[in-house]
């Protein structure tokens, strides 16, 4: 059975007018009226010709880089901004969670803030009274309810706001990724709530650049870049496209980023290569480096570091740790170093920084973001690493 369309976005464009000299005062109006030269408005195209539909019960993801326009789109869906062109149609009650605790006032007590934020979410005083105990217990803040909100820690505020937010009665929910900034415990609660919403067949629009959560929760997703739609497909396909986007833009400029390379160049890399730019189910990633000594050197150490797209250092190693010593290099000597890195990587984009240091710790060549590679495996796992794990079950099993 064809499900009902609850969000319909038709050719939506949004422009922001950015006056260089804003007429923010009456004087400004007069002065800009008489001087033609200074009156220049720059139009910023935040969104261009976006169209999509979301059906009832669907989890729909919106992904894109920072500044791609995804937050503007979310604000248009929430009807906070009006589209410059195009139309949106929404059926059912929509509650946006662009920020938790909208309307929270630091000068009021926790209790007063529950009523205020509740009103913003559409709860009457009576309705809040009925669920007040539930909210306070869930947030584990009973002792603090008569204290002013300004005395709460940020974690406490988020807890209170969240336990209220999950009780909002809505047909459509909009979530901004900023929600996922809490600690691990809070994030787990958030994601449990997502699962709960999914069970209840709620329609959810979810903005993020965390591909793992997009893959895990969303049925379909939309990729925006430079204010335009790039693709709209299943979450998995869109997540792949998103990583590819980073990959492409990195290789095109990657080797030119000279400022990210430093060291005294007593010995430096002359050539770097990897066996594949896209790693799927190969067992190893082979990295070959060629270094040339520019003077006589006693002992050098070659190493590298692998970071993921969010900058987390995943692994690092050097020749010293591997108990291999490279000694007595003469000026002009070339050395070839080949690393075989087991493919334990989960899907995503990775960056490799090779380095050369002397035994006394002097840095000769440290090359940040020198190489990038992409991992796209058959089986997707939503964890940091995805090594090939063996499984053998003996005893009672069904073949």
């Amino acid at each position: 059975m064809e499900k009902e369309v609850v969000i319909k976005v038709e050719n939506v464009s949004k422009n922001f007018l950015l006056p260089h000299e804003r007429a923010g005062s009456v004087k400004g109006v007069f002065t800009s009226m008489f001087s033609k030269a200074t009156k220049k408005n720059e139009t910023q195209h935040a969104l261009k010709d976006i169209s999509f539909e979301v059906k009832k019960g669907e989890f729909f993801g919106i992904v894109g880089r920072n500044g791609s326009g995804k937050s503007t789109l979310l604000k248009i869906l929430a009807q906070i901004y009006q589209p410059t062109k195009g139309k949106i149609h929404i059926s059912g009650k929509l509650v946006p969670f662009i920020e938790l605790g909208v309307g929270f006032n630091p000068e009021l007590t926790g209790r007063d803030n529950v009523y205020l934020n509740g009103a913003v979410l559409g709860f009457s005083k009576k309705q809040i009274e009925e669920i007040y105990d539930e909210i306070v217990d869930f947030a584990e803040l009973r002792r603090f309810m008569d204290q002013k909100l300004k005395n709460y820690s940020s974690g406490m505020q988020v807890r209170l706001a969240f336990s209220l937010a999950i009780r909002a009665k809505a047909d459509i929910l909009l979530f901004d990724e900023v929600l996922a900034v809490g600690d691990a415990d809070f994030m787990r609660k958030c994601f449990n709530h997502f699962r709960e919403l999914k069970k209840q067949q709620k329609t959810v629009v979810f903005v993020s650049h965390d591909m793992n959560s997009i893959r895990e929760y969303c049925d379909r997703a939309l990729l925006i870049d430079n204010s335009r739609m790039v693709t709209m497909d299943t979450a998995n396909e869109v997540a792949k496209e998103y990583s590819r986007m980073f990959f492409d833009s990195d290789t095109s400029t990657g080797n030119l980023k000279k400022e990210k390379r430093w060291g005294n160049k007593k010995i430096s890399y002359t050539n770097l290569s990897i066996n594949t730019k896209i790693l799927s189910d190969q067992k190893y990633l082979e990295v070959t480096c060629i270094a040339k000594a520019n003077e006589d050197l006693e002992e050098v150490i070659f190493g590298f570091l692998v970071k993921n797209a969010s900058g987390l250092n995943l692994l690092g190693i050097n020749s010293k740790i591997k108990r291999q010593s490279i000694k007595n290099l003469k000026k002009g000597d070339k050395t070839k170093i080949q690393w075989n890195i087991p493919n334990i990587f989960a899907d995503g984009t990775y960056i490799l920084d090779p380095s050369i240091v002397l035994y006394n710790g002097e840095v000769c060549d440290w090359w940040e973001d020198a190489l990038t590679f992409d991992v796209r495996k058959e089986d997707h796992a939503a964890y940091i690493v995805a090594p090939d794990i063996g499984l053998e079950i003996t005893g009672h099993y069904v073949k």
């Binding site: 604000k75 906070i80 946006p96 309307g103 509740g118 009103a119 913003v120 709860f123 009457s124 005083k125």
Partner: protein
């Protein structure tokens, strides 16, 4: 009726909670708290009363001058509270506006509600003064209801315009401070209309605010006060000018507010 309630349910809930919050915030950390909103206009009244009955004697010849002055002051106070409160109201709620979509007029209605609560409380004092001053009240006092409605509309029309314009032009707050000073003297709050030259009286009374004050005094306190009709030699149709002006202004400013309100989230 049920449908209407459904439609405005959210607005009513939000309005109630915003009014409550604004009150709590305004009077927290003050010893007398809410009493101040009563005390402030009364103290002002005492000062003006002494100045204008003992020193300047503006009130001589006006029957029940204390009540006459008090009523004018309360109307004035209400008007100032609504308009001055509204100027920065939209910008002040910018945080909320940027995060969720709700009918923006609620912000202005919240300011109005706050001022109305104050007005009704201070009205109790007027009643006390009327009893003490042996003012006899006739059925005509019922006409206060439409007059108060007009007063509310006058305050609202200014509030809608000022708050929406302030989002774009931040000079409005200073301009309005000056205008409100001028309005205070251009409106017969302290003085009787008979005390100013007839030519000016004819112009000043066309101001809806002046007309409302004079009419209210007429129906409630004394028939010897001038109204727009007596100034224009008993012409009853002359009422159409201030009332029509009010209606036109309300239509214009609410339209302006509604049009501009779509862009509030981007501009506050």
């Amino acid at each position: 009726m049920h449908k209407l309630r459904q439609r405005y349910r959210y607005s009513v809930i939000l309005l109630r909670e915003i009014v409550r919050t604004d009150f709590k915030i305004r009077y927290q950390n003050s010893f007398l708290g809410y009493v101040w909103s009563l005390l402030r206009p009364l103290l002002l009244f005492v000062i003006l009363y002494f100045v204008f009955t003992k020193f300047l004697k503006v009130g001589t010849g006006v029957p029940h001058y204390p009540v006459y002055l008090l009523l004018g002051l309360l109307y004035w106070n209400f008007f100032v509270e609504v308009t001055m409160g509204s100027v920065t109201a939209i910008v002040g709620k910018g945080d909320l506006i940027r995060k969720i979509n709700f009918p923006k007029y609620i912000i202005i209605l919240a300011v109005l509600t706050g001022a109305l609560i104050n007005l009704s409380l201070t009205a109790v004092v007027v009643v006390i003064f009327m009893i003490a001053g042996h003012v006899s009240v006739s059925w005509q006092a019922l006409l206060l209801i439409p007059l108060l409605l007009e007063l509310i509309l006058i305050a609202l029309t200014a509030a809608f315009f000022l708050s929406a314009a302030f989002v774009r032009y931040r000079d409005i707050s200073y301009v309005w401070e000056v205008i409100i000073q001028a309005t205070f003297y251009a409106t017969p709050i302290l003085y009787a209309m008979t005390r100013i030259p007839h030519v000016y009286a004819k112009i000043l009374i066309l101001n809806p605010f002046a007309q409302v004050i004079q009419d209210s005094r007429y129906v409630l306190i004394t028939h010897s006060t001038e109204t727009i009709s007596t100034i224009y030699n008993g012409d009853r149709w002359i009422w159409a000018i201030p009332i029509g002006l009010t209606i036109i202004l309300v239509a214009l400013t609410t339209t302006y507010f509604r049009r501009r309100s779509h862009a509030f989230a981007e501009e506050v």
